[in-house]
Symmetry: C2
Subunit: 345 residues, 2 copies
Amino acid sequence: SHSINLAVIPGDGIGQEVVAQGLKILAAVLPQDVKLETEEYDFGAKRYHATGETLTDADLDSLKKHDAILLGAIGDPSVPSGVLERGFLLKLRFAFDHHVNLRPSKLLPGVATPLAGQPEIDFVVVREGTEGPYTGNGGTIRKGTEHEVATEVSVNTAFGVERVVRDAFARAQSRPRKKLTLVHKNNVLTFAGHLWTNIFNKVAAEFPEVTTDYLHVDAATIFLVTDPARFDVIVTDNLFGDIITDLAAAVSGGIGVAASGNINPSGEFPSMFEPVHGSAPDIAGQGKADPTATVLSVALLLRHLGYEAEAARVEEAVAADLTERGDSVRTTDEIGDALAARVAS
Amino acid sequence: SHSINLAVIPGDGIGQEVVAQGLKILAAVLPQDVKLETEEYDFGAKRYHATGETLTDADLDSLKKHDAILLGAIGDPSVPSGVLERGFLLKLRFAFDHHVNLRPSKLLPGVATPLAGQPEIDFVVVREGTEGPYTGNGGTIRKGTEHEVATEVSVNTAFGVERVVRDAFARAQSRPRKKLTLVHKNNVLTFAGHLWTNIFNKVAAEFPEVTTDYLHVDAATIFLVTDPARFDVIVTDNLFGDIITDLAAAVSGGIGVAASGNINPSGEFPSMFEPVHGSAPDIAGQGKADPTATVLSVALLLRHLGYEAEAARVEEAVAADLTERGDSVRTTDEIGDALAARVAS
Ligand SMILES: CC(C)[C@H](C(=O)O)[C@@H](O)C(=O)O
Ligand SMILES: CC(C)[C@H](C(=O)O)[C@@H](O)C(=O)O
C-alpha cells in the first residue's frame, strides 16, 4: 500500500479557503489503500508579523521530508511588497530548485472568456523557475537620493536553460500536436537571448518530430488574444513566463481556474503545487473564492506523484463542473463539495 | 511662415509602403504656408548588407538637424536578430534621449477587437525609453559551452525614472479622467521596484488631482483583456512597456493602427514617430499593409511640433475611416488616398 506525506501551506487571505477544498478533493479521489498524511505549516503574513520570519533553514529541513507541497496563497497588504514574495515564495522555489514551473491553459466549452468567438485554447507554458530576473541579483546605490541607481540582473546559465528546454521538448513530444514555441526577447536582450535561442535550436535537433517556432514576448501577448489556438507548448524565461501565464489564465477561464506546479523533476526536493492567483485579501473569509485553480493544482500534484488516473478524474470533474455551472453563484465550500462528489462517484 | 524639416526613414519591408502614405497625409493636412522639407535616409537591412553599417556618428549628426523623424519599420530576417534592433532602433532612441515613449490606445466604435462586448478603450502608455533592461548592459562568459552564463542588467536611475513619471503625471492631469497607473513588478524586482514606487509616490504628492494606482505587470495584462476601461494613463518601465503596448494594440484595433512617439521633451534632439508594428516581411511589397498606424504616428508628430489642429484632423480622418471601413479590402495606397481626401476636405 502507498502513502502520500503532504506539506500543506494554506497561507494568507483566500489561501486558507481554497486549500481546504483542495484537500477535500484529494481525500475523495485517492484510493482507500493510499494513506494521506498532511502536515500544516503556518507560513505567511501572520507568522511574519508574530516572529519576523518568512522561511527559516529549519522550515526548509522540515518541508524537505514531504512528498509534495500544496500551497494556497502567500501575500498580504500589511506586509511590505516583496518581503513575503522574495522571503518565502521565491526563496522556496530556489531552495527546492523548482526549475520547471508548469502552467497549463485550457478553455473548456461554455466557460467565460473575455475573447470573442470562444477560441480553442489548450496549451501549457513551461516557465523557467530558478533563473532570469528572479534571482535577486542587483542592488541600489545612493538610495533615496536624486542620484539613486537601482539594478536588476537577469542571470541565465546554459545548465539552467538546457534542463528546462529539454523538459519542454519532452512535453511537446508527448502531446498530439507536438509543437513548441520559444518565447523571449532575443532581439533586445541579446546576451540571454542568444543563450536561449542557441540551446533551443541545439535541443530541437534531438526532437525531429517536434515543430518549433519562436516569438518575441511582445508578439506572444498579441497571439494569446488573437490566435491562442496556435500554441501547444511554450517554453520561456522566468519573468516572461510570469507575465504570459497571467494573460493566458485571463483568456482561458480566468485566474480562478489557473493551476501551476513548481516542479523539481529529479525528485531531490518536493515539488510544490499552487493556484496562479494570489491571496485576494479583498474577498478573503467570505466564501467567495473559486477553489477550482487549487483543485486543478491538486490534479497536477497527483500526476506528479504517479496517480495519473486520479489526476484525470479530478480534471474531468472540474471540466464537467465548469461546463455546467453557467451563471450559478456558489460558495467556495459548495464548489468544493460538488467537485468532491464528482470525483468520488 | 513656418517650415518642417523632416527626416524620413522608410526602412525595411512594409516600412517603405506605409511611410509613403504617412507623407501623403502630412502633405495634405499641412496649411499651404508651411514648407515641408523631407530628407530620406536609407537605414535598414539593405544598407547593412551593402556597408555593414547600421547608424554611424555621421548619420546621427545629420539626423540631429531635423525637426522630427518619421520611421516606417526596421528589421529583416536576412539580418541576425538584434543587429538592427540594437544597432539602429535602440541606438537612435538612446542617442537622441527619447525617454518618453508615448503609445496611445483607443478602440473606435465598429473597429474589430478580439475582446467580446466591444469594451471602451482609451488610454495612453508612457513607456520609459532609455533605461531598464534595454541598456545593453550585461554580457556572456564561456559562450557556446555548457558553462555559459549570460546576464542582462536592468539599469534604473532616479533621474531617468523621475522625468518620465513627471511626464506621465502631467499627461494624466491634462486628461478628463486624471488617472495614472504605475505598472511594474515591485514585489520581485525589488531594487528597481522600490525606486519606481518611491518616485511615483513622491511625484504623486505634487499632483493631488490625479488618482493613482499600482499594478504588477502580470496583473496589468489581465486587466487589459478583462477591464481595459480601467486605464487612463499608464507609466511603466521600458520592457514592461514594450510588452503591454503590443497587447494594448492587439485589443484596441490591432497592430495595424497602433502609433508611437519616441519623444525627447526638451527638444534637444529631434523626436521620432513610428508605427508600433514591425517590417512584416511576409506581406511586404504587396500593397497589403495598413498605413493607419503610420498615419496616426504622423498625428503624434504634428502635435509634437505644435500643429494641434492638424493632428486632430488626421485623427478624425482615421476615426471616420476606421468606423466606416467595415470588411472592405483596400490596398495600402487606397487607404492612404482615402485618408488624404478626408484631411484635405
Ligand atoms: C507572487 C509572485 C512572486 C509570483 C511570481 O512572480 O512568480 C506570482 O506572480 C506567480 O506568478 O506565481
Ligand atoms: C524592435 C524592438 C527593438 C522594439 C522594442 O522592443 O522596443 C519594438 O518591439 C517596439 O516596441 O518598438
